[in-house]
Symmetry: C2
Subunit: 656 residues, 2 copies
Amino acid sequence: MKKSVNVPFEQPDKGAGGDCNINHILQSCGTLAGNIREDALLMAFCAGAGAAHLGGGLSHIDILSVLYGTVMKHNSDNPEWDERDRFILSKGHGVLGYYGALCETGYIPREELFGFEKSGSDLLGHPVKNLKKGIEATTGSLGQGLSLGIGMALGLKEQGKSSKVYVLLGDGECNEGSVWEAFMSASQYKMDNITAIIDRNHFQLGGDTKDVMDVGNISDKIRAFGWEVREVDGHNIKEVYEAFKKPREEDKPLAIVADTVKGYGFSFCEGNNAYHHAVVTKDLYETGMRELGKECDPDSIRKKAEEWKENHSAYLKKYKSHIKKSQIENKITVTKQLARRWSMVGQRAAFGLAVMEIAPDNPKLKVLTADVSSSAGLERLKKTYPDKFLDAGIAEQNMMGIASGYSQTGYDVITATFAPFQSMRCLEQIRVNMGYMGSKVIMVGLAGGLVLGTLGNTHCCFEDIGVLRSIPNIAVISPADSCEVGKALEAALKTDMSVYIRLLGGSGCPVIYTEDYNFEIGKAVIIKGDLEKENNDVVLIASGTMVNESVKAFELLAEKGISSVVVNMHTIKPIDKDTILKAVGNSKVIVTVEEHNKYGGLSTAVSEVLVENGGFSKFISIGLPDEYGCGGDYKDLLELYGLTGGSIADKVIENL
Amino acid sequence: MKKSVNVPFEQPDKGAGGDCNINHILQSCGTLAGNIREDALLMAFCAGAGAAHLGGGLSHIDILSVLYGTVMKHNSDNPEWDERDRFILSKGHGVLGYYGALCETGYIPREELFGFEKSGSDLLGHPVKNLKKGIEATTGSLGQGLSLGIGMALGLKEQGKSSKVYVLLGDGECNEGSVWEAFMSASQYKMDNITAIIDRNHFQLGGDTKDVMDVGNISDKIRAFGWEVREVDGHNIKEVYEAFKKPREEDKPLAIVADTVKGYGFSFCEGNNAYHHAVVTKDLYETGMRELGKECDPDSIRKKAEEWKENHSAYLKKYKSHIKKSQIENKITVTKQLARRWSMVGQRAAFGLAVMEIAPDNPKLKVLTADVSSSAGLERLKKTYPDKFLDAGIAEQNMMGIASGYSQTGYDVITATFAPFQSMRCLEQIRVNMGYMGSKVIMVGLAGGLVLGTLGNTHCCFEDIGVLRSIPNIAVISPADSCEVGKALEAALKTDMSVYIRLLGGSGCPVIYTEDYNFEIGKAVIIKGDLEKENNDVVLIASGTMVNESVKAFELLAEKGISSVVVNMHTIKPIDKDTILKAVGNSKVIVTVEEHNKYGGLSTAVSEVLVENGGFSKFISIGLPDEYGCGGDYKDLLELYGLTGGSIADKVIENL
């Protein structure tokens, strides 16, 4: 393994050599840049007909050479070194230069370059988090890296670490609004340990940035958002070095706008956007190597790439999703008194109270909101434990990125905002950060269902479960009452995956639990009746507030001599298959009841289990129709849609 | 019905009275503002214990009085007047002042104010599009109105209309990155018929904007994004009037930053954020009316509110979702030649070619991308019909808002970007604009499934169908081959709802259709075998590229004497229930095959039908596991996950 540079071992400002030393450093960065460029071209050539993001993979190499060559504290002998600086390639398609830098500094074995973008390779066309290889973050969807970096930088600073965070963005990437959310927030948080570098290569996929969507004077824009901005020639190593090293303004984030040339380093692709994503033929490879003043043997390289493919096809393996059921300890114990107190305030305030129970013993807790601290019952937390609270403003995408960054630096992170904004406004951030990268965050969706009906459907939410059930690695929980909110929150903190907790109902939320019970993610609870008994007439499988309505239905049915069971299916993903199958065995009719679109939620999850296992009792789905209905008072809407105990009972009787 | 002001009938700069006339106008605006304030307080009082967004519903009233009183062209006798100016309340919670303005200018009957936020009322806590009542847009989720307004303004201008678009935003709302995407794009498009007004009341839900997320010098920020900015005292009617009326810079969008006081007009709530969302008691109502110098009778008002509730509970009604199946005409006819040509280029390029077929005869066509025109096969359209093409840059949220605005002004709108960014990055915009408001847009998700596996999972997409199936009013189509892409696009243009078209596969996409056939949204096509025949062994229900693999499986099964049927279930929502039920009746095993997460997509949609109808053949779901697997070459991944003809046949044989 080649290890031309591995820092920290040359810190020019600490050395005794003065200018001489600096010159040495700059020279070694220049050499590093050349080597990275060679690696980049090699990988692009190895990608063959699959093509590679060449232009944007070359423009930032001089910057990377300065970062990895001298500016950043890092150590490839100990890649997970706690005190390391962090680098995030927000413009995730710029992997050629990035993997090259990681190879030249000892993180990625040289032979792996031949496998670039091949099946089973760790070096895909966009970075996938892999600390052993020095890759801090999964990126590829533009406009997410700066938020993530802010979260990391906040986390590191609060842990007293001197580590800095560097985030490299493309200029085209700055079209994304999420980037401006991040700029605004870093300034608000007075962050002095984050540096954003804009690789201003003047092109994006569609052409000149001026023509597609002009970021214009990007320095002025970023300055207007409260950052210190330095402009440099991104291919002048000395200028880049000085931009990183000059003392920075106090309490301000720093952006370095680096004027660069897309495709820099090779005559055929410099400033030529046709090479945004292009094939590097044998001819081009030879030309490029000649221009670097280096020898090459393209045939042997192509052969190695082919061999890599053959040898590594066995590496294709399924990743196991890491759902772990969790049993909670009795930090929050349900007593009659607690049940009474929490039920009066509703699920949202109960969430705030549960957080207050958890906070004192959890030094790693971070609770984030998007300007809804009072609506989320978090005012007490904010006042009592200001260091455990962060407001991201009305910027849900940025909130999720920051949450991910905190999670990556070891915090237990909870985010909370109204359900549609918590689930749908930031869905791609959830997908990439919590789903793909596996950052663990507990997402609390406030006021799901129809409770905000008077405010119109923008503030109702009956799509969230369907939407989030589609994303791997996220558990979905809908507590039945205020006590279960606390239980769910504790369980979610203990499991090792991200969890969405959907809060429902208004104040005076009916009580289901008045004494302690065992809450386990993915394990349903029998609330009424005896599921073990054969020949039940009906099993009502409900979630959220509909558990209470199902209890009412249970009683109405009992009056008519109909035997039923009420199951609280608090976890909709992963769903409790055993309980569903037992219900199939021991009843005539299965009914699901939910305050959610009939498509995508509990009814759908139960349907999937039923057909997978073949054969089932009669099935009835009670939920919301697939439409944006009229708004109005919560109780009126529940009545309208048949989501009351009486309507549920009637529907069962009709179908028996 | 009270009609104190109804314009256009007083255009001061056209009048003969000079200053005298202007003073008269300003005075009448002042009177209007007072009346609006009275209405606002009335509604808040009528909301009773439900509370209302009082502070932010009052701060913009002087601005509204100038807009509705004199600046805007509008006519409540003809609310849908084609030449009217458009107003969008982007800060959707500001309804009190907005409904007040619409009442005072003749759009909303006074008696409806008593029903504010009541069940069945058209006047919910956030505006729901209702042209007859003067409400242009559904808002409530912050940060969406400006994009929508830009789309409308572009549409109106291109139709040669002199109509202007006014969008009112909150200062807190400017936390949202989507707002900055919109600012950037309006400047790029050199828009001179849109005006954004920032109601700078210095508060957001969580407190002072400085403390929550400081928008700081918002004028500087907006200026840095290329807008002309004017600052005014938002309660000085003359200043506001002049800000609207002064000649504006050429080819530049205009923002008016209006310094306002939250809760302006009533002593008890001025500058007091406790009244962000608050109950107006009888005492407060009386106080407020006294401060307006007006008489009041709170008891009679409360009684009217109660009566309204009783009388209007009957108004609670279900909204029908407006899915309409569509049969296409033969604009694009599948011939062997076309099949050969289009199949060679793959579904993405075929999409571009289909658009080129459609473009000449469709004067209303608008195709939008987010900086991926070449990837979407749209370069020819961009060159040939530049007026039918718009690039929103890498800003998917803004793209969907603009698409919605174009749709609202009568265009046939298609958007296209890579599937994860088309479905998940802008999901809440899709939900509010296409789902709730019903703007019709055809959304084309490029390179769904695993085809971009070498680029990593950020660029793969196996969640899109599950995610979009959860949103009402959107059809979901996954064409089986390139020819069907064209058919689907034509059908989508003809139906009356939004459609998501998921493109799959790379170049050299296998051909399913070599001759013409009837494509109908929601109607499956039998590709192989005879579904009418009883006692089929297997029915393979497939979508997208998996139709071709199922055809291979069909042949392998036939070799072993197993009779099967291949169904192309191109539309996953609304799903073709009849065909599924026929399959149940006439086969031993039903198999779904899809390049999508097993949760949420085709398998799930078929499961829902199966359990809804009770009783079914054995069911097997073949799709992707619920996990982010390793990346790699498309073919390798299909092999790995058993998505090839051979694996499908094996799985069937195992299960027979």
